[in-house]
Symmetry: C2
Subunit: 514 residues, 2 copies
């Protein structure tokens, strides 16, 4: 068995099932090795950021890592932006990077570069394999690093000569991923006393407080105390809709977020950091909870919020809340047109039970968040790290992780245009993904920033926010990449197109002309 | 004048004329500042690798840097692969990267990252601006670093608060780019005596030995000594065709390159490194000239090959060569079909005088190199660093640098698919670019590697080299991005389509179905 086969065998032995790949010459032994591991599936991407974004989406749903297979420094560089999002999502990902043979690298051939600078930027763990004997251990430790705690990005660089070398059989090493750090019981007590004296409490939630048992505990706490539940802006995964606790999302813009949080007299933060605005503006708040004594940071982003909330729920006296249970805010009024509210309304009305909704649009996704509270129960995935253009790739990964669920990608045209290549992999895998492009033909978020800064853009600045010259023909793009699609011009048309997309066996794309 | 305006004013003052931009919120003051500098043009890209690839192509033709304007770490990460190519091309590029305000960065907001890891990977010079007073100096030193010697990649990181701060008037700082290091006269003498005793001499050329005065000197030397001229595999810029000296390109595969070089009894290397194969194979040569005493490394890649060749030409006795002047090799025979030879033949026959031909296809571009010797005089740009997918962006930059010349991009489908977004910028700028996609619907180079390694790929490995499921509809893709196009099925059809493309005012795309 050669080194490449040993690596793949080890990964499969630890339960990895998918490899998102864009390989090159230095990865060919690894490519060949994929055929030797039953149960490990390969998905080809036309660009590396498809592979890494898919790995992120896969990890959020499957709750285990995928492999990526990437080509040297430049190929890995192409996948960095979505690894940034994966890092911020605490998604477990194992990158396998082919490298020149050790004896060749010293000649500094054209594709050579200092790969470790990039892997350090991308994640928490890097190793360059140094001997065939160590490959099984290297892969085991990569998987352990990726799955420790809440999860993270691990990168293993494997020189070509080691992939080809005979790699002796090695005893199967157990995975020993570190568990979450243990909770501080003082914080649970502090949160409980804060809640006991509060009239208008709130929970600001992230991580595993937004899905599964963590969300159930949060719901019980809300019912018991009348607290409002708020999700972090860039959440990795949230469960929402009928039957789930009502969670509203913290607003993106700082003045709105700060105003919301100022209305509470106790804020318990669990599974996320103390909130900070996406961007800093010199005349606006940035660290919304700074200096407040009525805040308890019960569990940090990398900690086990689910366990913390469960402990807090158990510590409270079993009583009904004096406050009325929080009810969902009314959604923004939507007229008949395809503005962001109209699109959100149609989507929430048409999405099936158990859908996975990928929400990476910046300016166009906010209204949907309120309509979604009335929708059938579903899972939402958001943009965690702000690196634009992940939606189509994330949707691909989610669909690979959950082939029986419908994936809906609510995508902007500006961000969608970054990585349309992902549509091809959606078609190739027959993934059940319906994409809705909120087509306003501009970088609307930049126009909003101009308005907020009260600047009057000159012609060059205005030109840099416009996508209408030429206009992108979204159904044409999708068709050319193997995905059928259509344009919707109004809410009725969008509703019909959405239904058609959801009935289609594979992917479908709808351009919602705003 | 604020800091952003001061930076842009300084760049324009040093003669920079173009900014390839994909900005975000942290760059908005810079975006607005672009309207304050007359003569500085902005070109929007839908993805950052369009911007950096265009900057590389622009620099190779304009022989001066363009600005890029990129968004924080993740936006810069998206542009890294083509900066790798630019670095290997010694192309001057100045990256301007917006960063969070200093007071905001400490909160580690979602888009924060260690940008310097990436800028160090990408190029030779990095600075993070630290005060408004220093911005003019920072930009001057960035331009100086980019234009020193043969050229390189410089990256300036500018926090948002400094862009907004009042930046006092500063005396215009002169650019003092370092000149090339001075030549070693001993090497000129050594090359001259090597040539004097040689029967079958050759020059292996790169850098400025492949165009302009450097190439003319090389041609005089070839005529005087009977030497064969060979261009490096990944050349940045080469002039070729009728009236230019005959230069053949070093073969890509090591066994062919080594065999060619073994046939000479003197090899003078100028403007490039001692040659090394793109990839290392355990059973093949990699450093072709290692250990030979009949080799003179007259000028390294970063040195002034033009001056070295001129000095060598002057040092030789003025005599006609005893050997016959080298004549071009006959091109590969081409049948009627659209294989690589057929495409090369049609292109060489149809290209106009003064064309710029961008050649980044891996397996499909080699035959064209021989046909091109018979074509009208033209400029070729190749892939220097091996980072796949640069062609469409490089063609955009070349067209922006030379609006009066026709640009032809001979592109593969595999590499073209990486960054089809560049077609949109081609349409937006009305660039006179005709793209020929060599559509074999596979990563042919990987299949060749499988054949060379005598491996019999299993179904997963075979699947990872195939692009036919679904097939990409190239004219459809182009049209959807604003570029008209068509499919050609045979040589006559390709010739007609090429003529149509060359008569079209803006860009045009032809899928040559292989």
């Amino acid at each position: 068995m050669n080194g490449a086969e040993r690596l793949i065998e080890t990964a499969a032995g630890h339960g990895l099932e998918v490899c998102f790949a864009n390989p090159g010459t230095t990865e060919m032994p690894l490519v060949n090795a994929l055929d030797t591991a039953p149960g490990l599936r390969a998905v080809l991407g036309l660009h590396e950021n498809v592979c890494t974004g898919a790995a992120d989406g896969y990890a959020r749903i499957a709750e285990k890592p995928a492999l990526t297979l990437l080509h040297l420094g430049p190929g890995f560089a192409n996948g960095l932006a979505n690894l940034h999002n994966a890092r911020r999502a605490f998604s477990p990902v194992v990158n396998l990077i082919g490298e020149h043979a050790g004896w060749h690298l010293a000649a500094d051939p054209p594709l050579a570069s200092d790969i470790e600078l990039l892997t350090k930027w991308a994640g928490r763990w890097t190793r360059r394999s140094a001997s065939p004997d160590g490959l099984a251990r290297d892969m085991t430790e990569a998987v352990a690093a990726a799955t420790a705690g809440r999860g993270g990005v691990a990168s293993l660089i494997v020189p070509h000569d080691l992939q080809l070398a005979e790699a002796p059989d090695a005893p199967r090493l157990p995975l020993r991923p570190e568990r979450y750090p243990s909770l501080d019981p003082n914080l649970v007590d502090a949160a409980a006393s804060l809640l006991a004296g509060a009239k208008r409490p709130a929970f600001l939630l992230g991580g595993n407080a937004l899905h599964g048992e963590g969300l159930k505990s949060a719901g019980r706490l809300a019912a018991a105390t009348g607290a409002v539940l708020i999700g972090e802006v860039g959440f990795a995964r949230m469960e929402l809709g009928r039957g789930h606790p009502v969670v509203r999302r913290l607003p993106y813009f700082p003045e709105q977020a700060a105003e919301l949080l100022a209305g509470f007299d106790a804020v318990i933060v669990a599974g996320t950091r103390l909130p900070v605005s996406f961007f800093g503006y010199h005349d606006m708040p940035a660290r919304y909870l700074e200096g407040r004594s009525d805040v308890c940071h019960l569990a940090a982003a990398e900690e086990d919020a689910e366990a913390a909330l469960e402990a807090l729920a158990q510590s409270l006296p079993q009583r009904a809340s004096g406050a009325a249970p929080p009810s969902p805010e009314p959604p923004a009024p939507a007229g008949e047109g395809l503005d962001a509210a109209g699109i959100g309304k149609v989507l929430a009305a048409g999405q099936p039970e158990g859908a996975i909704v990928v929400l990476t649009a910046v300016s166009s996704a906010a209204p949907y968040g309120l309509y979604a509270l009335q929708a059938p129960p579903h899972t939402q995935l958001a943009l965690t790290g702000g690196a634009i253009g992940e939606g189509m790739a994330m949707a691909l990964g989610a669909a690979v992780a959950a082939p029986d669920r419908r994936v809906i990608n609510l995508e902007a045209d500006g961000s969608g245009a970054y990585m349309i290549q992902a549509l091809w992999s959606q078609a190739r895998t027959g993934a059940k993904i319906t994409t809705i492009i909120c087509s306003n033909r501009r970088y609307r978020i930049l126009e909003i920033e101009q308005e907020r800064a009260r600047t009057d853009p000159g012609p060059i600045a205005a030109d840099l926010t416009r996508l209408d010259d030429p206009a992108l023909d979204w159904p044409g793009l999708a068709r050319s990449l193997g995905v059928p699609g259509e344009v919707a011009f109004d809410q009725a048309g969008l509703a019909r197109a959405l239904q058609k997309g959801l009935e289609t066996e594979g992917p479908y794309l709808i351009e919602a002309r705003m």
